[in-house]
């Protein structure tokens, strides 16, 4: 083995923090003056690095640090409980996105294109190029009413279809979204599993009726 390899092994030993050299390396140092000198220089260098790094981190901690942190903590108040709240809102947000996505999906051309074939039982289709809306709607089952309406939009305008929802659904959803920021606890309660509270049997007092007046039914008088 040449000196270069011994030197690599020397550096490896010092870098791994081991104090003793392998037998053959130690033997080589006895016979090779240059490698011995190299070894001494490396020991010095590693020692200097070690003490330099130690000096770099073991600085005296300022006495003002902890009081400053405590003061800041007192100003800040309670730590955040972001996990449960954020999960709650994330779930609600995902649900909202799903609702919108399903709405868009239902409006997609692939889905909408099925509707005329379902409503093709209308008598107008055989005669005209465009099926008349009222007949198509009348012929279609009730739950296809919205789809039948929306199917006419691309044909008339040629633009991207808009999402049409029932007015009641829209109003309910708007109310839900508007109330959500004010009702965080309720939103969290929706999404958070209920704590395992021990239910106790409720005691309900017996119904007491002091005066009971029984009147005959009108039909019994006849």
């Amino acid at each position: 083995m040449n000196c270069e390899r011994y030197r690599d092994r020397l550096i490896g030993t010092l870098a791994s923090g081991e104090s003793s050299l392998a037998g053959d390396v130690a033997l080589h140092l006895v016979t090779c003056a240059q490698c011995k000198k190299f070894h001494e220089a490396q020991v010095h260098l590693f020692g200097a690095i070690e003490s330099g790094v130690r000096a770099m981190v073991n600085e005296t901690v300022p006495a003002t640090l902890l009081p400053r942190v405590r003061a800041q903590v007192a100003e800040t108040g309670a730590p955040r409980r972001m996990r449960s709240v954020s999960w709650g809102f994330a779930t609600v947000a995902i649900a909202a996105v799903l609702v919108v996505s399903i709405g868009l999906l239902r409006r997609s051309p692939q889905y909408v294109s099925k509707v005329p074939s379902r409503s093709s039982v209308g008598p107008q289709e055989a005669t005209g190029t465009r099926p008349a809306l009222p007949q198509a709607v009348a012929a279609a089952p009730k739950h296809h009413c919205t789809l039948a309406k929306t199917a006419t939009v691309p044909q008339e305008t040629g633009k991207a279809p808009e999402v049409l929802v029932l007015a009641e659904e829209r109003a309910a959803f708007e109310r839900f979204v508007t109330d959500l920021p004010e009702e965080r606890d309720v939103a969290v309660a929706y999404t958070r599993p209920a704590t395992e509270a021990k239910d106790e049997a409720a005691e309900i007092a017996l119904l007491q009726i002091d005066e009971l007046e029984v009147k005959p039914l009108e039909s019994s008088n006849r």
Partner: protein, 188 residues
């Protein structure tokens, strides 16, 4: 929404009292850790910045950030490692912005040349060596640098560093090995 509250009328109130209790507990737990972890955060920051006032600022910010998010920590036993990473990251950010400022101000300055033949003590004590060591440390990959700093902090064994960072002992040793080797190559 209202109906849910009416069906379980005690639910919201119970949640609130539980939250107050949780906050109070989190506050107590944080206070218990502050005495031990405050100096640790400072030393990690100082190892990067090498400026007492800056390191104190960073340690304070890191501790405050850790406190704010203390309730999110799933395993409180990992607080030390979590704080160390926050402090290290914040210190690096501050160091980088300071470096950018410095570069703008002193462009074209050449690095200092190494001297030859000093003893270990002279070498370690000389400001020239310190400056070169600092530069060499700055060039180390972050994961090597963090392990090197933590292993050099008094009172922390390699096992503790391993537990703190959540990495195996062998990984700590190999990172130390490569860190030292790279430093030597840069400083030789």
């Amino acid at each position: 929404m209202r109906e849910l509250v009416l069906i379980q009328p005690g639910r919201v109130l119970v949640g609130r009292s539980e939250r107050e209790e949780e906050n109070s507990r989190a506050h107590r737990e944080f206070e218990e850790r502050l005495a031990e972890c405050g100096p640790l955060a400072f030393r990690v920051a100082y190892g990067v910045l090498r400026h007492v006032a800056d390191a104190e600022d960073v340690a304070q910010e890191a501790l405050l950030k850790a406190y704010r998010n203390f309730g999110r920590l799933r395993e409180p036993a990992r607080f030390r490692g979590w704080l160390v990473r926050i402090a290290f990251r914040m210190a690096l950010d501050r160091w980088r912005s300071a470096k950018r400022r410095e570069r703008r101000e002193t462009q074209g300055e050449q690095p200092e040349q190494r001297s030859s033949g000093p003893t270990v003590e002279e070498l370690a004590a000389s400001s020239e060596f310190r400056a070169r060591l600092e530069r060499a440390m700055e060039e180390l990959p972050e994961k090597f640098r963090l392990v090197l700093l933590l292993a050099a902090i008094e009172g922390y064994t390699l096992e503790e560093v391993s537990g703190m960072l959540g990495i195996p002992m062998g990984t700590v040793k190999s990172r130390l090995f490569f860190a030292r080797k790279q430093l030597v190559e840069k400083l030789r």
